[in-house]
């Protein structure tokens, strides 16, 4: 390489050496690129999915609530008889939202049918296990949600206490559940989703809700499971549960 050429083509001047060194340089650049991509993945996973997930969840809640019939802002009669039958939703359809006063008045998440990652759980929804029952129904209304990343709906699972309320609203009614049990299981222990949680062969007698999320954080080793039982329900056209009104008033 001539001296005169060097200033115009600095890259060539620097490379100067053997072919082997050039290959090593390319390898180094590839490794640095891989490192940057992995770092970007961490940023995406830890930070960005919460940003986009929360935005998506808010939009889903707003879009769903616009379709809901009005529910007067007054306490409705708590009922414990047979609630209305909820129609089975299509896969991916938003059919409910949920509230957990323990997690704050701002915490409201949309519930969609199915537990697929791309279409439901990673898209700003809590997912309903399709093989389980519907809200208010005798059996088990079982939900899955992220505990970290993708707006982490169930991040506060470790703060839930026995007796805490979980409220589900559909187009027909408000369902108020009370937390009865909080435990950690292996990912294979699907019996927690059974109509009588823990007893797959038993005939269901109670109206249960189940939340599943991951445990420990950033691990697939176990699942944190919350069970609850229906305390009462309120017809939408009559009003709202006292728990919702208390939560909104702070």
């Amino acid at each position: 390489m001539s001296r005169a050429e060097a200033p115009a083509r600095p890259g060539h001047a620097r490379r100067g050496g053997s072919r082997g060194l050039g290959a090593l340089g390319v390898l180094g650049e590839l490794l640095i690129t891989a490192g940057v991509i992995i770092a970007l993945f961490v940023v995406w996973q830890v930070f960005w999915t919460d940003v986009t997930g929360a935005r998506a969840a808010g939009a889903h809640v707003q879009a769903f609530e616009e379709t809901l019939p009005e529910s007067p802002e007054q306490p409705g009669t708590p009922q414990s008889d047979e609630p209305p039958a909820e129609p089975v939703p299509a896969a991916g359809e938003t059919f409910a939202t949920m509230f957990v006063p323990r997690w704050g008045a701002d915490w409201e998440f949309p519930i969609a049918e199915g537990v697929g990652r791309l279409d439901v759980l990673d898209a700003g929804y809590v997912g309903h296990y399709p093989e389980t029952q519907m809200p208010g129904e005798i059996g088990n209304f079982a939900l899955a949600g992220h505990r970290q990343s993708h707006a982490k709906p169930f991040y506060g699972v470790d703060q839930l206490e026995i007796g805490d309320t979980i409220i589900v609203q559909t187009a027909q009614a408000w369902y108020v559940y009370e937390v009865t049990r909080s435990h950690v299981v292996l990912p294979s222990q699907v019996e927690v989703l059974a109509p009588t949680p823990g007893y797959p062969t038993a005939e269901a007698t109670e109206r249960m809700i189940t939340l599943t999320t991951c445990h420990p954080l950033w691990s697939t080793r176990e699942r944190w499971v919350i069970h609850g039982v229906l305390s009462h329900w309120v017809a939408r056209d009559e009003g709202r549960p006292a728990e919702i009104i208390a939560m909104e008033e702070g």
Binding site: F41, G145, V190
Partner: protein, 51 residues
């Protein structure tokens, strides 16, 4: 690799830098919108369902 890219881009340094900036933004967008979302369910980081 990047040296080769730099030498083969047209225009003065400012234009080359702009082209690379746009390309970098496009690559990050592709990773964030397509590659990472498709990859995440395959990784043992945040699975929460029972199966």
């Amino acid at each position: 690799m990047y040296g080769w890219l730099w030498r083969h881009l047209p225009g003065p340094a400012v234009v080359r830098a702009l082209i690379l900036l746009v390309a970098a933004v496009a690559v990050v967008a592709l990773l964030f919108e397509v590659v990472f979302p498709a990859l995440a369910p395959l990784l043992p980081l945040d699975q929460n369902t029972l199966e």
